[in-house]
């Protein structure tokens, strides 16, 4: 039921993004810099997470004119964010023919109980997750790509690491359980048994698993790749740094050569200042973006 032709195409595009870097951009110039630096896709949005955090207010789907301008300027896939539960923003983005929709906790949620039913859409969706249960619930709703949430706009890798480690550990644990134990696990994870059984058998999600939320340096990108991420999303980390062009290139290089310390050293040299970053432990619970989504 999860693997019909439509779903295979959606997850298929995610396969094509593996080993790459998807960069947040707020205009066509940034999109061009990202493409030139070797980004495998861009995420079009109104403000990067660090600015959303600073400026407050309601964060919505980006202006259509801006997304169009970006689509016109680059040949790589263009993604855009819709608010959690806002299936009409998603329908509009689909009509605009964006290549992927991120139902994102970075924007202000439109529904505090329901995510979008993503199955009837032709356009694929990516959703954030902090743990296996959350990831499988999103896949059950039709997400064709999962990314760890991390803490967007923080420039701090600690939450992305926590979420990637959690998902990997929870998947490993399932692989050693018996059939009847999986039924109980499905209840605990609040996820469909069919998907729990898939993970138990394969030791991985039925869709690609990327990382997001706090990646600011080539070393950060390599770290999450080592922990099991198959590609990385970089939000504020690039265009909030001193030299976005060079940093973008360096992070692209790190995502490919995450196993090659010599190449990582080259990527890390002469980078300029990284974004300042936040101590996530000092944020108020209400300031956290990762707790949005259910």
């Amino acid at each position: 039921m999860y693997l019909d032709d439509g779903f295979r195409l959606k997850a298929g595009l995610a396969e094509m993004l593996k080993g790459g870097v998807i960069m947040d951009v707020t205009n066509a110039e940034q999109a061009e810099i990202a493409e030139r630096a070797g980004a495998c896709a861009v995420m079009a949005l109104e403000r990067v997470p660090a600015d959303i955090r600073k400026e407050g207010g309601v964060a919505r789907m980006a202006a259509i004119a801006k997304i169009r301008e970006i689509q016109k300027r680059v040949s790589i896939p263009v993604m855009a964010k819709a608010r959690i539960g806002h299936f009409m923003e998603a329908r509009i983005l689909e009509a605009l023919k964006v290549d992927y929709i991120d139902e994102s906790e970075v924007l202000t949620p439109a529904d505090e109980e329901h995510h979008i039913d993503k199955r009837p859409f032709t356009v694929p969706f990516v959703c954030g997750a902090r743990n296996l249960g959350e990831a499988l619930r999103r896949i059950a709703e039709g997400a064709a790509l999962i990314r760890t949430k991390g803490e967007a706009g923080s420039g701090n890798i600690v939450e992305a690491v926590r979420h990637m480690r959690t998902i990997q550990r929870e998947m490993k644990q399932l692989t050693v359980l018996g059939k009847e134990e999986l039924v109980a696990e499905s209840k605990k994870l609040q996820a469909p048994l069919e998907l729990v059984e898939y993970v138990a058998e394969h030791g991985k999600l039925p869709v690609p698993n990327f990382s997001a939320g706090g990646i600011a340096t080539p070393a950060d990108a390599a770290l999450v790749m080592q922990l099991g991420a198959e590609a990385v999303f970089v939000g504020s980390g690039i265009f909030k740094s001193e030299d976005p062009d060079r940093r973008a290139r360096a992070i692209v290089k790190a995502a490919t050569h995450y196993n090659d310390a010599q190449k990582l050293l080259e990527a890390s040299e002469e980078l300029g200042e990284a974004m300042r970053g936040l101590d996530v432990a000092k944020l108020e619970p209400s300031e956290l973006l990762q707790t949005r989504g259910w």
């Binding site: 298929g12 396969e15 993004l17 593996k18 190449k263």
Partner: protein, 194 residues
């Protein structure tokens, strides 16, 4: 048989699995030295602009050109774009191994991606096996012109989708995303020729 899969970006692992199902050893290629001792090389699907950056910046462009003079290459989707003589919309540099002109994202954006069933030509069926072939097109390119040196082995809606030139194969869909092993099988046959 040892087959390299260019692993800078894209669905290289899907190719690795497809090759291993046929009994070949898959070697992931990220630096020029990884090409040593390989019988063939696959350039996978992914973003051709991203891969081209890597080829140009990390010495792989020349290394793969030299390799292709000796051993067979299989390019799928982005890989086919990198192997074409002419790339358009937008124009970009390529390895110029196949006498074809190819247009990027020619079907449209992701919502225009599709899974089609192809009826193989008698030549393809003879060299592999008969029967319909499932073809997954994802933001796929279209081959707009085939020159005298290249030969068409498969078509979809009148457009060439699998082209052969000497030892090399270029395909605009993704055989690595299905369980049909015929395209990879054909490539391994070419790679086993010494």
């Amino acid at each position: 048989m040892k087959i390299g899969v260019l692993a800078v970006q894209g669905d290289f692992e899907a190719h690795g699995r497809a090759l291993e199902r046929l009994g070949a050893v898959a070697v992931y290629v990220r630096v020029p030295a990884d090409l040593d001792g390989l019988d063939g090389l696959v350039i996978p699907g992914g973003e051709s602009t991203t891969m081209l950056k890597f080829l140009e910046n990390e010495g792989l462009f020349g290394a793969i050109s030299n390799f292709a003079a000796r051993r067979p290459l299989l390019g799928t989707c982005a890989g086919a774009i990198l192997m074409a003589t002419v790339v358009c919309r937008p124009a970009q540099r390529s390895l110029e191994l196949m006498d074809i002109a190819i247009e990027r994202n020619a079907y449209g954006r992701q919502v225009d991606s599709r899974i089609a069933t192809l009826s193989p030509s008698s030549e393809f069926a003879e060299r592999t096996a008969a029967g319909p072939l499932e073809a997954v097109f994802i933001r796929a390119p279209i081959i707009r012109r085939v020159g005298a040196r290249a030969r068409v082995l498969l078509e979809y809606h009148g457009d060439p989708v699998l082209v052969e030139q000497g030892p090399h194969l270029a395909v605009t869909f993704h055989p690595e995303l299905t369980t049909d092993a015929r395209v990879h099988g054909l490539f391994l046959e070419k790679a086993s020729a010494k």
